[in-house]
Amino acid sequence: MRSRSWVAWVFMAPTLIAMALIVFLPLVQAFVWTLTDIDRSNMGTRFKEASWTFTGLDNYVTALQDPDFQHAFVWTIVWTLVNVFFHFTLGLLLAVILNQKLRGRTGFRLMLLVPWAIPIYISAIGWSFIFNGEFGLLNNFTALFGIGRIAWYSEFPWYYVAPIIVNVWAGVPFMMVALLGGLQGIPQDQYEAARVDGASRWQSFWNITIPGLRSVSTMVILLGIIWTFNLFAVIFFTTRGGPAGKTNILVTFAYQVFNEGELALAATFGVIIFSILIVFSLFYRRLAPERA
């Protein structure tokens, strides 16, 4: 009780100190940087004096008014929603199929895990060979169908579609596995009761399976949204944010800005991304409550 609470603090202290140094301090520093005009040439090193100044909320104004930022913001939202939609629907479809007694279903489940098991940047590079505009595998097929060669990474609208294909391919297994676990948690007697009552398969799917998966779905969709929103590897290793910066999502755009040495602006992007996701998570818990 009260006399024992100090013990808890003693045990937590090492973790809290480590987190403070590694997570909280840099977070606060990054936030402070967003209020200045700091970049690589004025940040102050042992060789050169610092010459940055406080500029208030200028960076936020610049960022939010930048047309490239606005474009990246809209595309990030579209990218996230489209990807998670396909991840979930295809994952659910595969989970339902593989939940049934099929011969060799363990083999199918293992095979379908492979896209998720391969490190994502390797998948992205592998898909680049398929999507290569000059010699790619896919272009050999388009020739068969009489369509000319397509520059998958540089032609509208394919430069939006290609990374989505890569990410959906890589992300479906995770959703499939999670939903498979969820399906196995639904009591079978509900299905039997429904069959006795004369419900069709679609009705039992809609009224038993979907509600039964609610808590798993909520969790998995939230994870999917946050991961996809911040997914750097796929965009970077496929289209590199091009052409002309059109496929930059917020994180790859922030990386580009950081590489140009604009530390304050990059930190601003980071804070904006962080805020969006925090606000979203808070609202999400409200919109999708757990099963009563």
């Binding site: 999507f131 290569n132 000059e134 790619g136 520059a151 091009g242 052409p243 002309a244």
Partner: protein, 431 residues
């Protein structure tokens, strides 16, 4: 395929991958005897690729053998991340003593104070060629030793040139277009030329029409001059005459275009490409260049009368500023650099790797002077244009590529794209 045949094929492929330039291996230059006080380690970050790294390692080994007690930690750094890594390490005090820095990074590092001022510590500045030396000079002081220089040149397939009716590389872009269109078949992926969506490759289309990118004054201030009628004319010539006739029409795969260009050129389906000496060894492994004399190297074609230009690139050896705090170490580092960047060492690297020396005396070396490939590149360097040096000059390419690609895709006209680049550069250079 029978095992023996497969093994032989694999062996031949491996052998074929060795740069064809290394025919009779020249001897390593002798190390000049010198007494050095310093005992310890010198760290060296090298951004070269494997086969180039191995040759420099040989030079370093020769030097350390002659100077027992000093070891050199020679590590390979990825070129793509080296600049960022150095920018992180230098303020922290953990940067290497020697870095092979791209010329685009050198002045930036010097301006940030990371580099040792070598002006008074080296005595043979006169031996260095002017253009490479200028890339290591900032506000009157010199911060690096030019190591290699290069520029984009026009590399052509002699057999395809003959098929197009030319007996030498085209001297003007119009000539390239006229000849290339006789053999180009875009459907069948046979091209007269291949272009890139990268702005480094777009630079000749401003220079060849008499334009300039930007000018740096004595005091470091910059005037942005890219948005000019010459640039507009050059860009429109590219779009209207070259793309879609002798080269693929935009958009092509901008992310993978370097690899596609090289693959097509090596396979003998592209007549001419713009590329630098760094790729020659790889080109010679292609089936089209099994006979090395099939590769022609020439200056970039002219646009309007007498105008051409090619971006000068290259690398400098730079020394970390903190090395200056220890006079003994500084002497050892400079001695090492005077060996691996000396006349004989540069001649050695020219013969084994085809790298262009930056010292006038290296070009006077017999073997180097007799090498036809190096002479061809010498002609390219004569017409090459120095990119004006400024700490932010490496950062200019990102907005340049962005609007150049927007122009290629037809989303912006040449006027609009060049105006947008001008605005971004003015912000970048602080105007």
């Amino acid at each position: 395929m029978p095992k023996a045949a497969a093994l032989t094929a694999a062996l031949l492929l491996t052998v074929g991958a060795v740069p064809a330039l290394a025919q009779d291996a020249p001897a390593l230059p002798e190390v000049a005897a010198s007494e050095l006080e310093y005992q310890g380690e010198i760290s060296f970050w090298n951004t070269m690729r494997d086969f180039e790294f191995a040759e420099v390692q040989k030079l370093i080994d020769a030097w350390t053998t002659a100077h027992p007690g000093i070891s050199v930690k020679h590590t390979a750094q990825s070129f793509d991340t080296a600049r960022a890594d150095y920018q992180n390490a230098a303020p922290a005090g953990t940067a290497p003593d020697i870095l092979r820095a791209d010329i685009g990074w050198t002045i930036g590092f010097a301006d940030d104070g990371y580099l040792l001022d070598l002006t008074d510590k080296v005595s043979d500045w006169d031996d260095y060629i002017g253009v490479p030396l200028a890339t290591a000079t900032w506000k009157g002081s010199t911060y690096g030793l030019p190591h290699v220089t290069d520029a984009l040149g026009l590399q052509c397939n002699k057999a395809l040139l003959a098929e197009a009716g030319l007996d030498a590389a085209p001297a003007t872009w119009q000539e390239l277009v006229d000849a290339g269109s006789t053999i180009a078949d875009l459907e069948a992926q046979k091209y007269g030329f291949y272009m890139r969506g990268d702005s480094y490759w777009a630079q000749p289309f401003t220079w060849a029409w008499g334009g300039k990118l930007y000018e740096v004054a004595e005091d470091g201030s910059v005037t942005v001059t890219i948005n000019s009628p010459e640039s507009i004319e050059g860009w429109n010539f590219l779009k209207d005459n070259i793309l879609g006739t002798v080269a693929p029409a935009a958009p092509w795969d901008y992310t993978n275009d370097y690899g596609n260009m090289t693959t097509g050129f090596k396979a003998g389906t592209i007549m001419c490409v713009m590329n630098g000496p760094w790729q020659v060894a790889d080109h010679l492994t292609g089936e089209a260049f099994a006979d090395p004399s099939n590769l022609i190297i020439a200056p970039i074609p002219e646009g309007t009368a007498g105008n051409t230009g090619s971006p000068v690139g290259g690398h400098n050896y730079v020394v970390y500023a903190l090395v200056g705090d220890d006079p003994a170490k500084e002497a050892a580092v400079l001695d090492l650099l005077s060996y691996i960047n000396g006349t004989d060492a540069q001649a050695y690297l020219a013969q084994t790797l085809g790298l262009l020396p930056t010292r006038n005396s290296a070009y006077a070396n017999e073997a180097v002077a007799a090498d036809p490939v190096i002479s061809a590149w010498g002609a390219v360097m004569q017409k090459a244009t120095n990119r004006a040096g400024h700490p932010k000059s490496s950062d200019m390419y990102a907005p340049y590529s962005q609007y150049y690609q927007a122009f290629l895709n037809g989303e912006m006209t040449a006027e609009e794209a060049l105006a947008a680049i001008e605005t971004e550069w003015n912000t970048l250079f602080g105007n």
